[in-house]
Subunit: 187 residues, 2 copies
């Protein structure tokens, strides 16, 4: 069953979706099928940052009011949108398309890293913000990029570890609390 | 029923506990009752930092190997223990006993603030780390303390806002993500 290939859809949900579609009139199932084909037809990866977009370059890369000298590096397009929703990042993005994971055979060449180095080199970028996830692989990828970017005259920063807003100290894991103490800042 | 006064114990749990105690032999119920009385007899607030302790001053305040010039300010004793478990803070603590909350009638005089200022003044303290919770009241208390501490030659720091360890950007609330970006640090 093709529907099982989708994330969060297992055999039971797939069966339920299939039976539901059998109850729909033909034109509605056709609409769904066409929409699925349209997705691939109209969307592509931005040639510059690599995010999923309907125009190329994407709305962010082609916006002259964004700061061209700051690039925020994320793992996937959905991370880019999470940061965009905060409305605090005024620069551009670079989507790696994943993280380093030697066991899965994902090395630097499988990710969009060389494109990043070219952008940094050609556009006189002054800051690269590493916003990969705070897990082992995201952290390893950030460290690798830091080493590689040492060759360029660019400052490399990492989003902060710490207590989430509204968090109660008592319920926060010890590693995060230790990082929050270590990363304390002047008031 | 007296047991209902305890936190997390509602009428049903209280009834269950009471029936359980009826099944215990007398000496065991007496042990429980004695332990409850002992708690109040042997434990008190540390004269220096205000944490709950069995000796006075507490183990931390009386430990000469702790850095006497760094004080970490927390709301309650359980926050102190949360930080102690991280094994990263080498200084002393100061337990406020709550947070500023004008609507509940809790002002600066209801908290152990003047004791803190005396400690800072008398002991040549060089850093006060504000580790109140990251909620509205904890934050307001931290700002108030910062203003009050401006009179003293002490640096005032705040534990870091940010992404908890292992956190996935996509699932983190926007305010935390904005703060993590704002608080980014050089690699």
């Amino acid at each position: 069953m093709q529907l099982q290939k989708l994330p969060t859809v297992g055999p039971k949900t797939a069966q339920r979706l299939a039976f539901f579609m059998l109850t729909l009139p033909d034109f509605e199932t056709n609409q769904i099928a066409e929409a699925i084909m349209e997705v691939k037809k109209h969307l592509s990866d931005c040639n510059i940052c690599g995010t999923i977009t309907d125009i190329n370059p994407c709305h962010i890369c082609s916006n002259p009011r964004r700061d061209q000298q700051i690039i925020c590096v994320v793992e996937q397009s959905d991370d880019l949108w999470a940061i965009e929703r905060t409305e605090t990042h005024k620069g551009l993005y670079h989507v790696l398309g994943g993280v380093l994971s030697p066991l899965d055979g994902i090395g630097p060449d499988s990710l969009r890293m060389s494109d990043l180095f070219k952008r940094v080199h050609n556009n006189n970028v002054k800051e690269v913000i590493l916003a990969t996830n705070w897990d082992t692989e995201g952290q390893a990828t950030a460290l690798f990029l830091t080493q590689q970017l040492e060759k360029y005259p660019v400052s490399v920063t990492r989003i902060a570890y710490g207590i989430p807003v509204g968090g109660d100290l008592e319920y926060i894991d010890e590693v995060t609390l230790a990082k929050a103490l270590e990363g304390r800042r002047a008031m």
